[in-house]
């Protein structure tokens, strides 16, 4: 573990802005510190954890505004008290990365973290409706707001989501939330090959039955390939759709339903948090691809894989230090190195290098938002 040195711990937006403005060197922006993804960053730690608490919650308007350092668990608990939730099902990286600490809502936004429901409910960026942040000069800025339909000016909300603290330090985030669902069920198929599984998931996702999760585990918990399709909603509706989906997927073989909501919940938590690859020392990559391309690309990884998002998301486990991009060659999509040693992350670009004209735009934006280059410098570098 790197020596942390002194930590800046502002407790208000103004203090945070002053800390950035008066910084004389690079800053390492930290929420809960649970997601050390990207190039290792040298610099003084600027913790956002001191900016915590719910600013506004209107269940009847499906909106919540929270300070960026608020623990994710606290946000989820507040929403649950009104039977609502964040639609995008953010992954908890502690399981895969073996990290400690408390994930913050600002960290979720900074990394645009989503889970299995992303295919139906969108990513974190799709639920995010407003941000306040401090740019690299210490200026306090806002974009978006607290209403879910807003096209007033440029959408910097999307730009900040997933920018991992390199464009600004988030101080406040606003979301459109959704009602939590009454129950859930899972339609399961045993024994499918990867190609068939992706085909079955395409059939399910192309049905009118609102599948909110579609994953395939080639190894399966009991060594048998397992394809899982999740349905959520009111009990009667879930029962109806489960029945229809069972019928629809019969041609694929041994189809059955798992209707215990607790077991279904646990199974999808495992997919969300990449449980199959937890607790090993191998590198883990995350590939976003066109779903029907997935089996071919997965085969090229040479490692162990499983699929989420109907095939659109491949999780791949490969030996330490593997340059997976070199193995894959050209394909439509991108690969992120999520788990690897600091040494590997320094050697292999964790984020997909972009074509030159796009990289020039990204670099141009970074210089405008952080002209001194002090916010998480190099974290997303190619």
């Amino acid at each position: 573990m790197k020596e942390r040195g002194p930590v800046l711990t502002p407790t208000t937006e103004t203090e945070l802005s002053e800390a950035v403005a008066s910084a004389t060197g690079p800053l390492r922006i930290e929420g809960g510190g649970t997601r050390p993804v990207g190039r290792p960053v040298e610099g003084e730690v600027l913790s956002v954890g001191g900016l915590s608490g719910v600013e506004l919650y209107e269940p009847g308007a499906l909106t919540i505004v929270v300070r960026a350092g608020t623990p994710l668990a606290e946000v989820e608990a507040v929403l649950a008290s009104e039977n609502q939730r964040l639609p995008f099902e953010p992954m908890d990286h502690r399981v895969l990365l073996g990290t400690g600490g408390e994930p913050t809502i600002g960290g979720v936004v900074a990394a645009n973290v989503s889970g299995p429901r992303r295919i139906q409910a969108g990513a974190c960026r799709d639920s995010l409706i407003g941000v306040r942040f401090v740019d690299g000069t210490g200026t306090i800025l806002k974009n978006g707001g607290r209403v879910m339909k807003n096209v007033t000016g440029y959408d910097l909300v999307k730009l900040l989501a997933g920018s991992r603290g390199t464009l600004g330090v988030l101080t406040e985030v606003a979301f459109k939330v959704l009602p939590a669902t009454e129950t859930q069920a899972c339609v399961v198929i045993d024994g499918l090959g990867d190609l068939q599984a992706v085909e079955a998931m395409a059939v399910a996702l192309g049905s009118p039955f609102e599948v909110t999760g579609a994953a395939h585990l080639p190894a399966g918990p009991e060594g048998v390939p397992l394809t899982m399709l999740r349905l959520e909603g009111f009990a009667a509706s879930v029962a109806y759709r489960t029945g229809r989906l069972l019928d629809l997927l019969k041609p694929f073989g041994a189809v059955r339903a798992e209707v215990d909501p607790v077991q279904v919940g646990e199974a999808w938590l495992g997919i969300r948090d990449v449980l199959p690859f937890a607790g090993s020392a191998d590198d883990v990559w995350r590939l976003s691809v066109r779903p029907t391309d997935a089996p071919g690309i997965a085969a090229l990884t040479g490692g162990e894989v499983f699929y989420d998002w109907g095939g659109g998301l491949i999780w791949a486990r490969v030996p330490q230090g593997t340059d997976l991009r070199a193995r894959l060659g050209a394909y439509a999509g991108h690969a992120t190195l999520v788990r690897a040693s600091a040494e590997t992350r320094a050697r292999i670009a964790p984020f997909q290098p972009e074509p030159a004209p796009i990289a020039a735009l990204s670099e141009g934006l970074r210089r405008k938002f952080d002209p001194r280059g002090i916010l998480n410098p190099g974290l997303m570098a190619a």
Binding site: G60, A61, L62, T63, N83, N112, R118, I119, G122, R125, D126, D135, L141, K142, N143, G145, V147, M148, K149, N150, V151, T152, G153, Y154, D155, L156, K158, L159, A161, G162, S163, L167, L178, P179, A180, T181, E199, A202, L205, G206, P208, F234, S237, Y240, S288, V289, R290, P291, W309, G312, L313, G333, H334, T336, Q352, E354, I358, A359, L361, K368
Partner: protein, 481 residues
């Protein structure tokens, strides 16, 4: 509404600029005759008109790139145009600008049901995207009222919404990738059939940038399987407050209707006179639509009707047939046309927190008396996107100005209660000078810096979105170096 003084030096070079455009495009794709350019003098914000220097109608991404290279070299402002249905003046030209219309870029390039995407050229109309996939029971979700005419290019520029975005989101939530040409004529591929950005979410900032960052020529869009069915209910209430409370209770109950539309008394009266949908005469009317199988619809409507009854509705009407469902939607869908029959009108689209609905409607009523202009309210109640229609007489001197001042006051009120100036129409020229009501100078500055990165010389749609005073130094070339 003020527009920048056209650059006389650019105007004097018209023959050369036209000649260079003709070198890179077929003759039929360059319009420069003054009588013909007049067809492009405005969009759906017809109060403002100005014929452009020339209009080009390229047929490929490469032609768009060639045109932009010429315009960049000549230092000519470019105004991108989809179908010209903007209500905000997004496609309004200046006399020294070249309009780049994408109407000839209207092909479907790929439909892929397994991956639930369609790739189209950006001049294709919104409704014809759904038209291309509905034989397989799929659809493209964003449904702006102008969907029969409006182009995907304009939808992307304005991040258009529609009546069903409570459930399906707006354009940005359904857009996966674009081919975009920069002002310098470089062709960029951003996103595609896969999800999420590898680095910064450039697609997210391009969508809704009102044609100021580049010209989108192709788009990959998410398509969805149609639900098994949909059914609306109509509810009448004797006050706006009660209708607002009912909306809030429905949402809190965990039901997610696909649409919740709200109409106030002036709007009900006008649409009844025009469309005769048989609406009850009351203070506030809600149309709530849910989707699913017949049994699922029954279950959801059961919950909704139970909540509605608690609010003592003056009317509850559940559609028992396809025909009755159509009648319930008839008045809402004819609301704008009905208003147009009575009067000239200006349509606003500020968004407010749903909880502020009663207060905002009461204040609009008071302002209506002060200004002496009638106003009718149609409202996407689930997401807080208002559509006040201010009625005025374009032939009466001073009425337009009065209407604009009234509109500005309503939009400032939207911002005051925690909302925004525009929910789905865009800023264009219409709300450009109100931006300071919503944003601090530094919030506008950072947005303009984004444009500096994509279009350093500020040639793309330069007189839109930002207050003219705020963008003056950039438009006049101080930042060009």
């Amino acid at each position: 509404m003020e527009m920048p003084v056209p650059d006389s030096e650019v105007l004097s070079r018209k023959p050369r600029i036209v000649a260079r455009l003709q070198e890179v495009l077929p003759a039929s794709a360059v319009i420069h005759d003054e009588a013909e350019t007049r067809a492009y003098e405005c969009d759906a914000l017809t109060a403002y008109k100005c014929p452009p220097l020339a209009v080009v109608l390229p047929s490929s991404t490469e032609e768009v790139a060639a045109v932009l290279k010429v315009c960049h070299a000549e230092g000519v402002p470019v105004v991108p145009r989809g179908s010209g249905t903007s209500l905000a003046g997004g496609a309004l030209p200046t006399a020294d600008s070249v309009i780049v219309g994408v109407s000839r870029l209207n092909r479907v390039l790929e439909t892929d049901y397994d991956n639930r995407i369609i790739r189209v050229q950006s001049g294709r109309t919104n409704l014809s995207v759904t038209g291309a996939v509905e034989q397989e029971d799929f659809f493209y979700a964003p449904d702006p009222s102008s969907q029969l005419a409006c182009a995907i290019a304009g939808n992307i520029a304005m991040n258009s919404g529609g009546a069903h975005c409570l459930k399906y989101g707006v354009t940005t939530n359904n857009l996966l990738g674009v081919t975009m040409v920069t002002m310098e004529g470089e062709i960029l591929e951003i996103g595609g059939a896969h999800l999420d950005a590898p680095g910064y979410d450039l697609l997210g900032v391009i969508c809704g940038s009102e044609g100021q960052l580049g010209i989108v020529t192709e788009a990959t869009l998410r398509i969805l399987r149609k639900p098994e069915g949909a059914r609306p209910v109509l509810m009448g209430f004797d006050s706006n407050e009660v209708a607002g409370a009912c909306v809030s209770d429905i949402i809190k109950a965990g039901v997610l209707p696909v649409a919740i539309e709200f109409m106030d008394r002036p709007c009900i009266e006008a649409t009844e006179a025009f469309a005769k949908a048989g609406y009850p005469m009351c203070e506030a009317l809600l149309i709530v639509e849910v989707e699913g199988s017949p049994a699922e619809i029954d279950e959801q409507l059961g919950v909704i009707l139970q909540i509605a009854r608690r609010h003592n509705p003056v009317e509850l009407r559940e559609a028992q047939s396809e025909d009755e469902a159509k009648r319930i939607w008839l008045g809402r869908k004819s609301a704008f046309g009905a208003m147009g029959q009575i009067n000239d009108y200006m349509c606003l689209d500020g968004t407010i927190p749903v909880s502020a609905l009663p207060l905002v409607l009461r204040r609009i009523g008071e302002m209506s008396k002060d200004y002496g202009l009638d106003v009718a309210n149609v409202f996407h109640a689930g997401d807080g996107n208002m559509h006040p229609l201010i009625l005025f007489d374009a032939n009466k001197p001073g009425d337009l100005e009065k209407c604009e001042a009234f509109g500005a006051d309503i939009l400032k009120l939207c911002v005051e209660v925690g909302g925004c100036l525009t929910g789905e129409h865009g800023v264009g020229i219409e709300k450009r000078d109100l931006m300071t009501a919503q944003f601090e100078p530094q919030d506008l500055e950072i947005q303009m810096k984004v444009k500096d990165v994509f279009d350093p010389e500020w040639l793309l749609n330069p007189a839109k979105v930002f207050p003219l005073a705020a963008s003056a130094s950039r438009r006049e070339g101080a930042f060009a170096a």
